[in-house]
């Protein structure tokens, strides 16, 4: 790898856009190239300055109100076409039937729609809770309560702190080194948080005892953070990170593998 070639590669690595092979290759290059190391450090300083400066401009209240009121209201389409009725009697009963059918259909569609909307907003609410927990963990000093890359140290640490034994595994050989663990509370449920590194990113894996309302499988994205959740052996797992979605899917597969 010549250094000219690695320029965009360095950025792809920095942004977590290289696949596992490419990242490993770049990391090997990094060990022998002080130039790339300097550049990478410069990128990190710039990013942390940009993040620290809080330049994100949220939509002002005036705009929110305008958006809410300015969109044209959908025309209320009449459920039953208005027909001037010159001949009553026989056709009348058909008309009532049509109205009844339309009403039933409308109620049916409405219920379906509400269910979908409900599921959607539940998922959104869940995403917000997960991403909040992830962001909280990234505050200085919040990431790990037990710092260890050894699963045999992290696992016993949870003993007596929670009423279940989370499956703690190290995936360093697969590019997800275990960094530590901590206790967390997600949506007023106690969770074991396992912290993994993924190149320059942090992946939080929350493990909770599965509850009836938990989705079998779900995933989503909020403000640039991806999350994925699944159930396994009576636990609900949720992995969240700012890394690529494929990485989260990979760690899920690692957990699912025997």
């Amino acid at each position: 790898m010549t250094c000219d070639l690695t320029q965009t590669r360095l950025h792809a690595y920095f942004d977590g856009e290289l696949d596992a092979m490419g990242a490993a290759e770049f990391e090997r290059h990094l060990e022998s190239c002080p130039d790339c190391e300097t550049r990478l450090a410069a990128e990190e300083r710039l990013r942390s300055a940009l993040v620290g400066a809080q330049l994100y401009a949220r939509a002002p209240e005036t705009l929110r109100r305008k958006l809410q009121t300015s969109l044209p209201v959908a025309a209320v389409s009449p459920d039953v076409p208005y027909v001037k009725d010159p001949k009553p009697s026989v056709e009348k009963s058909w008309r009532w039937l049509a109205i009844a059918a339309t009403v039933i259909l409308a109620v049916f569609l409405g219920t379906q729609y509400m269910e979908r909307l409900n599921r959607y907003s539940q998922q959104q609410a869940m995403a917000a809770v997960i991403v909040d927990a992830h962001l909280r963990s990234l505050q200085p000093g919040h990431l790990e309560d037990v710092i260890s890359t050894d699963q045999h140290t992290v696992k016993p640490w949870f003993d007596g702190k929670i009423d279940f034994a989370p499956p703690v595994r190290d995936f360093a050989n697969d590019g997800f080194p275990l960094l530590g663990g901590r206790l967390d509370v997600i949506d007023s449920r106690t969770a074991a948080a396992l912290v993994y590194g993924r190149r320059k990113h942090i992946v939080n894996v929350f493990v909770e005892k599965a509850q009836p309302g938990d989705a079998q499988e779900a995933s989503g994205e909020l403000q640039g953070y991806h999350w994925i959740s699944w159930q396994q052996n009576g636990f609900t797992f949720t992995a969240v990170s700012d890394t690529a979605y494929a990485d989260l899917d990979q760690i899920k597969q690692l957990f699912l593998a025997p």
């Binding site: 792809a12 300083r45 969109l71 044209p72």
Partner: protein
């Protein structure tokens, strides 16, 4: 005009991205009032063409409309600025000055000014990546550029941002 169900879908899928829309407009246009107007216009356009958007990444879809509205606004208002599209062929990479690589501290106000001083096409890419957290694939979709161009434009934008930050404090001019 959208059917009732599409309208609800619009509210659920697109409306939550109003911060993302406003933030992008605010940085491309460099002003609050313009950003409010253009965001509103972009939402109207999105609303009208929502029938054609079925599933997929609603944020990227909306942001593409927002950035198009922004660049139209810049053109119509003859904002004197570097509008040239980034082109690797005509803009070969330059080695970065070691001083700007070593630069350690940046305060908020200087960063804000430096970001506003970047050419519009570099500004948008930094905002999409660093503030909005978009993936390369999303940035490519929003800016309708090939992913390779996104990568080299991003590298160049970061370098130029650092260069501006280094220029901003000439040696000896500050206590």
């Amino acid at each position: 005009m959208l059917a009732q169900e599409d309208r609800a879908r619009f509210e659920a899928d697109v409306m939550p991205h109003r911060d993302a829309a406003y933030n992008l407009a605010r940085w491309i246009l460099r002003g609050r009032a313009q950003a409010e107007d253009v965001t509103q216009e972009a939402f109207l356009r999105a609303y009208r063409s929502f029938g054609g958007f079925q599933t997929g990444n609603a944020r990227a879809w909306l942001l593409q409309i927002v950035r198009n509205c922004c660049f139209t606004w810049l053109q119509q208002n003859h904002v004197a600025e570097e509008m040239t599209e980034f082109d690797e062929q005509t803009m070969p990479p330059k080695p970065e000055n070691p001083e700007s690589l070593a630069m350690a501290t940046y305060d908020r106000e200087r960063l804000q000014r430096a970001l506003e001083d970047l050419p519009a096409h570099f500004r948008e890419i930094i905002v999409l990546r660093e503030l909005e957290g978009c993936s390369y694939k999303e940035i490519a979709a929003i800016t309708t550029r090939p992913i390779g161009t996104v990568m080299s434009a991003l590298a160049r934008a970061r370098q130029q941002l650092r260069a501006i930050l280094t220029e901003a404090v000439p040696k000896g001019s500050q206590p």
